[in-house]
Amino acid sequence: MGTRSLRRRVVVFAFVLGVALQCVPPTVYYLGDGDPDDERFAWRMFSSTWLRRKVCRVDYDDLFDGRPRIDREAELRFDAAWLPVLQRRWDWATRRVVQHRCEARPRLRRVRVHEVCGPRRVTVEYPCPGAA
């Protein structure tokens, strides 16, 4: 096999590999059992999940063991940064946000994340690691 022929085959292989790699995230999204809200690499623009984000509102509340000490500035900063992420309802990201919240706020026992879509309200409760 000549150098040129080998080079061609390498280029064709890279071409096919590149195309196949791009197909992996959307295929895993549809065929895998991952989070259906996590559409990041699945090319799902203006999907039903997007519509739900537009018409629903996500909020949360904290359940403390005893009286909490609130730093108002820090809470505002946290909400500005992380409420948009909670709004996306990616379970893995919500867990990391909650875990950080639990670590940074003493005596926090659990965080309830609510999604309100018109009259419908869905609540998911995330216990803090190590909380009874």
Binding site: V12, Q22, R44, S47, A81, V97
Partner: protein
């Protein structure tokens, strides 16, 4: 030589490669400078917690602050602007690397088109360098063999394909999403149109996907103009404010689907067929070109 090799190694007009590389870099530069300004004003980053798109990045990178993101965007803009003048690999690799880092460093950036731009920029690295033609000519002449060109076409085709697949859902087909998008057009828009527009969009995106897959060799003027209109309508009529993504897609439609057939060899429906020996020599020519 199999069909894939024929497709990937089909010679394309040097002018189209030239416009693709420069066009993508110019849009990237403008978008990056715009995003740098936006990043500084953003309140969305919290220094106490950082979550990247990939867990490994959280261990490797410094905590992404607004200043860091703005700096990365500025670097992307500067490298892109320099690469417009001289698109060497020494400039294209940092552009692709920094642009990929700019969105992957934090999940606050979840625009899918930033991921798409990464694919585009990494593809540009493999393009042959096409210089402007001899003195007196404003455009490069002749054809080059550029498998990267076909790769970009296939990638754009895949994007349209999966975008169409995503729309095959009850909420879309019923027209719920279109109804939400056309709320502001209420006095001029009939809700009975929604399911029709929804289904037509799926069909159209599949058609555009096919057009891109065959784009390096076949051009359809009607699909090209319809694609441009589709993105212009999405921005101006439906007010989707997708921004840079629409600009990229319109630019790519001009390059790949070539509505006015400005590139050489595009007078007919197909580019000129190339004989085996000629193709080999073009391949050698592309390899022999000096690269940066």
């Amino acid at each position: 030589m199999n069909a894939l090799e024929r497709h990937g190694f089909a010679p394309v007009s040097a002018r189209r490669v030239f416009v693709l590389v420069r066009g993508v870099l110019i849009i990237t530069a403008f978008d990056a400078f715009r995003l740098a300004a936006g990043a500084l004003q953003s309140r969305r980053l919290d220094a106490d917690l950082a979550i990247a798109h990939f867990e490994l990045l959280d261990r490797l990178q410094p905590t992404p602050t607004a200043e860091l993101r703005a700096g990365v965007f500025l670097a992307v803009g500067l490298f892109s602007a320099l690469a417009v003048v001289r698109p060497t690999r020494w400039l294209l690799v940092p552009v692709a690397l920094l642009q990929t880092w700019s969105w992957s460093m934090t999940i606050h950036d979840n625009f899918q088109h930033h991921y798409f731009v990464s694919i585009l920029l990494w593809s540009l690295v493999s393009m042959p360098r096409v210089a402007v033609g001899p003195a007196g000519s404003r455009w490069p002449r002749g054809d080059v063999v550029a498998p990267g060109f076909s790769f970009v076409a296939a990638s754009v085709g895949l994007t349209y394909f999966f975008t169409a697949v995503a729309k095959v859902s009850p909420a879309w087909v019923r027209g719920d999403v279109v109804a939400h998008l056309t709320m502001h057009l209420a006095p001029y828009w009939s809700s009975s149109l929604n399911p029709w527009v929804a289904c037509l969009t799926i069909f159209f995106e599949l058609l555009v996907a096919a057009a891109y897959v065959f784009a390096p060799r076949v051009r359809w003027r009607v699909i090209a103009l319809a694609t441009v209109s589709f993105h212009v309508c999405a921005e101006l009529v439906f007010g989707l404010a997708i921004g840079a993504f629409s600009i990229y897609m319109v630019a790519l439609a001009f390059v790949f689907l070539d509505p006015w057939r400005v590139a050489p060899g595009s007078k007919g429906r197909r580019a000129e067929p190339v004989e085996q020996g000629h193709e080999e020599s073009l391949f050698a020519l592309a390899r022999a070109r000096p690269r940066g």
